[in-house]
């Protein structure tokens, strides 16, 4: 009987831990205006702003300007890393990170390619 209780407690503790971890890692999907106000990690989808300064490296950071497709707002993005492979052909860019010190500090970019190629692994 004691072992059953022990097992139950362990399972409940794990569910609690998983729930906390889940809440902690949720990254909402927001527009540019909301991204600038958010405190935690968020995901922002947009296009490369063609009118702004061309994408370039600044030290360890790849810097470009992301524009909201619908509202036309834009914000600078500082991506910690080098220019992603398919960046130039990108159709949409999704940046994951937080807005801090006047720029969106991102450590993950999802690059969406043009719809000519339905890019999927046949799954």
């Amino acid at each position: 009987m004691n072992r059953k209780i022990l097992l139950g407690v362990l399972v409940l503790a794990f569910i609690g831990y998983a729930g906390w971890s889940f809440m902690d890692s949720v990254t909402p999907y927001v527009g540019i205006a909301a991204a600038q106000k958010a405190t935690g990690n968020v995901q922002v989808k947009g296009l490369l702003d063609q009118k702004a300064e061309a994408p370039h490296m600044e030290g360890d950071y790849f810097v470009f300007t992301l524009q909201d497709e619908d509202t036309g707002e834009s914000m600078p993005v500082r991506y910690h890393g080098t220019k992603p492979d398919q960046f130039d052909e990108a159709h949409h860019i999704v940046a994951v990170g937080t807005f801090r010190d006047g720029a969106f500090q991102s450590d993950k970019l999802l690059i969406k390619c043009p719809s000519k190629y339905e890019q999927q692994k046949g799954k």
Partner: protein, 408 residues
């Protein structure tokens, strides 16, 4: 045009076969077998026809124009067959129908089970028809768009067929389980046969997942073998559940009380195959995955099929629950039965965690505030489970099953 006709005939044959198998007579059973073979030939004819269309550069067909081009090498024309959603569903149907022929003749799957299996095949055929690869191109083009350069890789020739073989074969354990529930067949008559099919499906799906990981690492540059991308997760979850099926089945061979869990695992394994297909094919995840999916009208159809299979399966299990053997599932805590069941519980937690993570975009979209989980969630929660799992594996090796003789 011919392709659609082949598919429509296939569907009609499958529905007739379902009815034949549903009648409990030796004569109708023979008819059912004939119809099963004919339905396979129908699906094969449609597949061959699509292949012919691709190789003869028929760019008036939308599917050929989207995935092939005149200058594409022969090997990639071959794999263009499953490069898109429509063709990959046809491939799934073809493998499912082929397994159906083997089941009807060699495996002594009970008539009710065959009826369920052909019913699933009919649902797949409807999905292929709903999103047909034989639709004509609206505007004429001189040459096709060609296969995505990323897909022009030898792995493309083998990865999707292996994954789809795994998906298709997971329907077989479900058919055995449903057949047994419908007829009151005893475990001795079906457990061992279902086990062999489940092992085969599990091996195919596992191999497909590993190959996919290697491919992603080598060519696609998604950053490592495994990126917890929804597309990867959607094939991992059914694989984990199929793992539960295989393990609780082993326990059920010595402890009949575990049979209800075998049934549950069979229902969920195939339902989650459908759910994963729904998630990745409906376009819902378009913003959350490195894959870009074209939004498509087929999402709703897959969701309906998924709900139908899951609800019908669970309902059948609830209705028959009283007839299933009851009792203790393990003799003591230091028995192998207990450790294997504990391991299955861990697999279930793992599947639930990945399921929750990959469903997050869908769930939050319904509430109006779309969100996704960071991949650190998977690592943080699965790591402790994996460690406990390894301890379970060691512990299980040191113990034997209870002294009872195997029942199946």
């Amino acid at each position: 045009m011919f392709g659609t006709i082949f598919l429509a005939i296939t569907l009609a044959l499958e529905l007739c076969a379902v009815l034949c198998y549903a009648v409990r007579s030796e004569k109708m059973m023979r008819w059912g077998r004939e119809l099963t073979v004919l339905s396979f030939l129908g699906a094969a004819a449609a597949s061959v026809y699509l292949m012919v269309l691709i190789f003869s550069n028929r760019f008036d067909i939308a599917y050929v124009a989207s995935y092939s081009s005149a200058e594409l090498p022969a090997m990639y024309k071959f794999s263009a067959f499953w490069a898109g959603q429509q063709g990959s569903f046809l491939l799934w149907l073809l493998i499912h129908a082929l397994a159906g022929v083997v089941l009807a003749f060699r495996q002594r799957l009970i008539h009710a089970g065959l009826s369920v299996y052909l019913g699933l095949q009919a649902l797949l055929t409807i999905l292929v028809l709903a999103k047909s690869p034989f639709v004509l191109q609206e505007t004429a083009v001189q040459n096709g768009a060609g296969l995505n350069p990323l897909l022009q890789d030898p792995w493309m020739a083998i990865h999707p067929p292996i994954i789809f073989a795994g998906y298709a074969l997971l329907a077989v354990p479900l058919a055995y389980a449903a057949g047994a529930l419908l007829t009151g067949q005893t475990a001795r008559e079906w457990l061992d046969r279902a086990r062999k099919w489940a092992l085969t499906a599990w091996a195919f799906l596992g191999a497909g997942i590993f190959i996919g990981g290697y491919w992603a690492y080598k060519v696609l540059g998604w950053g490592g073998f495994w990126g917890w991308d929804p597309v990867e997760n959607s094939s991992l979850v059914p694989w984990l559940i199929a793992g539960i099926f295989i393990h609780v089945l082993r326990v059920a061979r010595v402890r009949e009380a575990a049979l209800s869990m075998v049934h549950l695992a069979a229902i969920f394994a195939f339902s989650l195959v459908l759910y994963g297909t729904f998630l990745t094919r409906s376009g819902i995840l378009g913003d959350f995955s490195v894959h870009s999916f074209s939004g498509s009208s087929i999402g709703m159809a897959i969701a309906l099929v998924n709900a139908l299979v899951l609800l019908a399966g669970l309902l059948l299990l609830i209705v028959r629950a009283k007839q299933l053997p009851q009792g203790e599932m393990y003799p003591s805590y230091d028995s192998r039965e207990f450790v294997v069941l504990l391991g299955s519980l861990i697999l279930m937690f793992m599947a639930a965690i990945v399921f929750l993570g990959m469903s997050m975009p869908l769930l939050t979209q319904l509430s109006g505030n779309p969100a996704a989980v960071d991949t650190s969630f998977y690592v943080r929660t699965l790591m402790p489970l994996a460690i406990v799992m390894m301890l379970c594996i060691i512990y299980a090796c040191l113990h034997t099953y209870g002294s009872q003789q195997p029942i199946a």
